[in-house]
Amino acid sequence: MKAAILVFPGINRERDMARALRLISGSEPAMVWHAETSLPAGTDLVVVPGGFSYGDYLRCGAIAARAPVMDAVRDYAARGGLVLGVCNGFQILCESGLLPGVLMRNARLKFICHDVHLRVERSDTPFTRGYNAGQVIRVPVAHGEGNYEADEETIKRLEGEGRVLYRYCSAEGVVDEAHNINGAAHSIAGIVNDKGNVLGMMPHPENHVEDIMGCTDGRGLFAGLVQHLEKAA
């Protein structure tokens, strides 16, 4: 796997992401500075990591979404390249127009930093093939603005086209308002674009990949991507 991790000022989860990718794919990801105008040749996964790019100034992800490297990411995605955005990365992908909708302030206004359960809605995508459909995984979240919202038409399309891949749920996999941590529409934790090659999600799978972290439920996402790329090669 030739992964490229984008680095913006204020991003702070890029090394967690690099560690997870190194561990699971066995190859070293490239760190790509936001001012670059191209991606390394042969990149087969672009990762937009979490953190607080530009201190969340203006709107979270807004300034990073307009960085020079994002034009290269847009071209890459248009050619079908895989893009994974986590947390601030999800916000950046929404702001850049690569994903629909927007991440609003959490409904209860608090910054949420703890483990959550996610239901994997389907297993036939590059981003979920490491799991079974309906499987419940435990991964951490750390965000103040993760409340996914979009207009009714967009939500209807996302649901109709099976583009919601991860949803907040109970440990038993029940999706209800009590487990919808941030008030997101339809308990959405992660969605893909219409072509299915760009995923944005608020939770941090990269932080549950080693035994020392207390849980390895996040591994499946990366292992699935590695499998997908090996199969495609």
Binding site: L58, R59, A62, I63, R66, E95, P100, G101, V102, M104, R105, N106, A107, R108, L109, N147, E149, A150, D151, G183
Partner: protein, 79 residues
Amino acid sequence: MKARVTVTLKTGILDPQGKAIEGALKSLGVDGVASVRQGKVFDIELAGGDKTKAEAVLKEAADKLLANTVIENYRVEIV
């Protein structure tokens, strides 16, 4: 030339911050507030004195960066 761009949330978009401010005003005993919506104001100094050009620049600035038109409206004023 001085200008002001005002960015506000579209109707129907939930505004948890506005709601919190509304609640705080009520608990402060400020009566008669029915609801609060929070927005942003950008005061911008423009080079040159062409008003039509300035309006076009401000519109471009708002569309490209200052507002997320998925959830926000904006208003441009030359002041």
